[in-house]
Structures are given as C-alpha cells and as structure tokens.
Amino acid sequence: MSEPPHPYDRRFVFVTGKGGVGKSTVTAMLALRSARRGARTLVCELNTQERVSCLLGHQPVGGTVTCIDRNLWAVNISPALAMEEYALMKLRFRAIYKLVFENPVMESLVRFVPGINDLLMMGKAFNHEREVDEEGQPAWDRVIIDAPATGHGVTFFKLPRTIRDAVPAGNMHREAAAMWALLTDPVRTAVHVVCLPEELPVRETTELHARLKGELGLPLGHVFLNMVPPPLFDAEARADFDRLLERPADPRLGLLWDVSRIRLAREALAAGYARELEALDMPIVRLPIQYTATFERPQIEALLETLPA
C-alpha cells in the first residue's frame, strides 16, 4: 500500500480542538493556503456565528456557497437548509417535502431526535465532497470544515457510525455508512487538531487524540499549536538577561525586567506544553502569537508565512 498523501493535500479536511483555541484561525489559514496553490476550495462552517469568512476580510456568507477569494468559496451550513436539501434530494417533490416537514407530527419527531442537526450538517459537507459539476468532474478539490469543539466534537465525528449501527437499513443507513467510509479514509480525509500551549488544552488534545485515533480510527493530520510566544531574546541575549538575578536598580529597567520575566515564564510554560504534545504521533506546527490590537486578514497572512512550504 502506498503512503497516504500529505494531510494538506487531502480532499476532506476537518479542523477541531477545544473551544477558543483558534480553530477558525487555522481553518482560514489552511483555506487560504489551499486556494493560493490553485485548488478549488470550499470552507464550511457549521451553524455558528461565522468567523472564517470575516477573518478573510469578507462579509458573512450565510447558507449560500459564496466566492470569497480567488479559488475560495465559503458556506455556513444551517440544519434547516441542510434538511430541506437532503429531503428534496430523496423525496424529489417539494409538495411531499411540505407534507412531511410542515407536518406538526414530523416537527415533533425531529425535535425529539437530538443530533439530527449535526447529522444533517455533516451530511451536507459530505455532499459537497462528492458534488460534481456539469461535466461530471468533482466540483471541489478540497472541502475544509471548521468542526465543533472537543467533547461535542467526538460525538460529532462518531455520529455517522452511530447512525449506521442504529438504523438497520434504508437510505439513512446507506448515507451514514458512506459518510463513515469517507471519514475514516486516510487518502481523502485528514482531521487536524488545534491546541494552545496551556495545561488544559494540552490535556484535552491528548485525550482527543486518543479518542479520535483509538476509539474512532480517524486519519489524523497535524496539531496546530497556536499562540506560541516567540522568543524575546536570542540565545546570547537570553544568557545575558539571565545574569540579572535581581530587579535592576534603575526604575525604567526595573519595569522592563518585571514584564520580561512574566513573558519568559509564559515562554517556558509554552515550551513545556509543546514537549508534552511531542509524545503524540502527530506532527506539530507552531503558530506564533501576534501582539497586534486586531486579528484580521493581515494576521492570517502573517501566520501563513510561518508555515513550512
């Protein structure tokens, strides 16, 4: 068997991690990288306050697939739209759709199926992966999905398998089985995990890694370690600074010494957490903190610069 392609080169890409670690940032960066290299790329956000399109300097796009840059499209998938799309595809007639879905009994049934929203959203992302254009060619070279946060995320990834096993036959079973086959395919799919150099995100990443790999057997990509404080000093200056064992007498230098020590403490913490992550068999990509007042497209571009080619 030949080696699977590099995770950046796969067609179906998920970005997950603990809440607030920068999943949207990494999604935006990977999307920009992919589009820049000439791949027709679609970014999917799942029913959230849109961030990726905004980070790339575009208005929120909503539920319509919208071109936001050269080779780059975005969509915010909502469960209601996904449901309508799926049902219309399967039932073929809008009149039947209306009869079924604008029926109060069905409405109650749907309300009582927790997870159905996630399934529908994942199903729509999945349909984009296999979508074809008029000539029968794949419509997208790459679909990148800003996945839900850890915890909820594992449930989300497990969903197709759960449904495949819970629903014995029929369309839903077939769909779920096909989705699961795609999710676990190391040739087409990569799941990236975003992490911060802090204790709890690192622990969660370690747990997530174990569950995604062990329990679910998903093809993992990289760990993106976000907000790594860049070194304040080069090696020589650092050694010289470390000779200042006490606060310098000059009050200006005293203040500088205080602030630098806090920063160096964070640098040391971050380095320690990075070492813990090295124990996982996932390549680590370090993304530096940018000390800027805003975080927008220029900061995404700057991060992209730091990625190895």
């Binding site: 607030g20 819970a166 630098s260």
Partner: protein, 376 residues
Amino acid sequence: MTGIEDLLRDRRLLITAGSGGVGKTTTAAAMAMRAAQGGRRVAVLTIDPAQRLADALGLDALGGTLKQVDPGHFEAADLRCEGQLFAMMLDVKTTGDQMVRRFAPDPATAQRILDNNYYRYFSASLAGAQEYMAVEQVRTLVEDDAFDLVVLDTPPAAHALDFLDAPERMLSALDSKAMQVLRGGGDESLAARLLGRGRGLVIKSINKLTGGPFIEELTDFFILFGSILDAMKASSRAVQALLRDDGTRFFLVTAPYRANVDEALHFRRQLDSRGFPFGGFLVNRVHRPVPTVTDDPTTLAHALDELSDLPLDRRERVVSGMLAGLTAHARMAERDREAIARLDRLADAPLVVVPLLPEDVRDLRGLDRVARSLTA
C-alpha cells in the same frame, strides 16, 4: 446592583456561560470555592465533557456522582474553608437512565424504555441529549437540602443556548398538539395508528428517509415514553421556573477581545429575552496596564549598571529585547482596555475584571487567586 460577594452569600443557583476558552470552568469553580469558604454547602457542576473542573479542584476524576473536595486540600494550600465544597461532572448516560427510572410508572416500563434501540441512540451517543437531560439533575440538586448553593458551568456559547433552551424545547414539544395526538390512548393514538394501519404518504416518506425498522423503534419509543411524559412535563415546568427565579443568577464569562465581548453582549440579549436573571460580566485574563518607557535602547543600556562588564552593544540587545516585551504587553493591555470599555459602555451591568495570571490555574491556590479578583 448586587456585588458578586452578596450573590455568593444568598443565591441558590449561579450559572456561568460564555464562548469557549474564556475560563468559564475555572471561574465557576472559583465562585463555588469562595462561597464554600464563606460557610455554605456548595455543589459545583459541569456539563462540559472535559475533566477541567477535576483538575482545578484537585480531584482525580469526576464521575456522575458528587464528590466532596477533601478539606485537607484546603489546609494543605493554607486556605480556610468554613463550609463544604462538592464537585461533579454531569454524566449523560447516567442522568438519562436515572430520569427514565425516576419518572417511569413501574420498573418494567423503565426497563423496556432503557432497552429500546431508539432510546439508546437518543440518550448515549448524540449531541444534545446531554443538555436535555442535565437540567433535571441540576434542579434535583438545587432542591436538595444538603446544599445551600449550586454553581453550574455550561458548555460554550452555541451549546450553552441549547442547554438553556432544552427545557423550553422539551415543554413546547410536549405541549404540541401533535404530541397530544401521539400520546392519545389506544386506537386514538397516532403512534398506534402509524404502526397499525396501512402506511400513509407521510410514514412512507419518513421511511424513505430513514429506513423502515427505525421508524418502528421510534414510534414504539413514543408509546413507551408517553407513560412518563406527564411527570417530565411537570419537572420541565419546574426547571423553567427555577431558571427565572430570583434565587438564580447568570454570569457571562468573556475574554477581553472585541469578538468575545460582542459575543457576550449578544448572549446577554438572549438571556434577557428569555427572562433569565443576569448577575454580571466576568472579564478574564486581562493584561494589566503598564507605564511606558520612552528612552532609547542606548540610553537604557548605559543605565544597566548590573551588566556593566558587558560591551555596550550586548547590553543594548538585552534592553531591546526587554523593550519589545514591554511594547507587546502594552499593546495587549490597550486592546484589553478598549474591549472592556466597550463592554462597560454597552452592558449596563456589573463587570468584574480578572487579571491574566503568570501561571495556569491548576489547584486550589490558583483558584483562590481568581476568587480574590472576583470578590475584590
């Protein structure tokens, strides 16, 4: 406006909510700890599947049961605790099963529900079931005389709303006409009709979407579940009343960034529109303002007497590094100040600032530092 200190003393239920990564769990734990130290019997609950709370409280593992934080941990950290502090992580499976057992008319019906494939799929594996089941557990604890205060940590914003809306959603689903028809007894029950008579277009269509046996499991589930709905309905009403009770306060935890602040403001409007009583905003990990240093590196290098044995250019490089650190910090402090000012301007609610700590919160001592800024 009532300060946090007072709320910790006299409320029954405090809920922290907000977007991910802002320190909700830590904040909830710090509030619970402070209230316990003040002499109350406090239970802190998280419905986030991660083990964060356990970490911060120095517990090895949190299952679906309440565990008391060893008073020895307080002593070891040189902290006083007049009351008692309990912690637990709400476990979906346990909570759902407990609810079925609690509300079912008899053990046999409970067992039939628990054995139903659809129930198993519904309760164990799927997102949303957790929030759905969790609120009942919270209510039970609030009503338990063994505790004076329950502190609840909710999952990140989008799902925190799911959590808050779950009881309402359940009630409205239970109250819907369709459900009443579905629950009607014997031949009148729609579920019975769906199962019994020739299948109409609706059921055919549903089957086409899902697969036949699944819908039968589902209707079977509804018939069984009908037997416990009245009890659940009463409970759900009680939860709604509890969330709106004056003994309850919601706190929004946010990071000092523009995007987070806007999210928090949005969340506040959602709380208000639901009539949930608001306690205040907690802005976490704020960079303290620092004075500026305007002198150039050469001037400062000359003043660095402690390294006077080094050539001037090496002293300059040390000073330049330190100046870069100060500039970065000052920029973050300014960014934080602007975000907080914006929140203060638009919020019209109490606002507490918790400074960025040089180290992570991982034990009671760390929690105590957070608690001190909360109640300062």
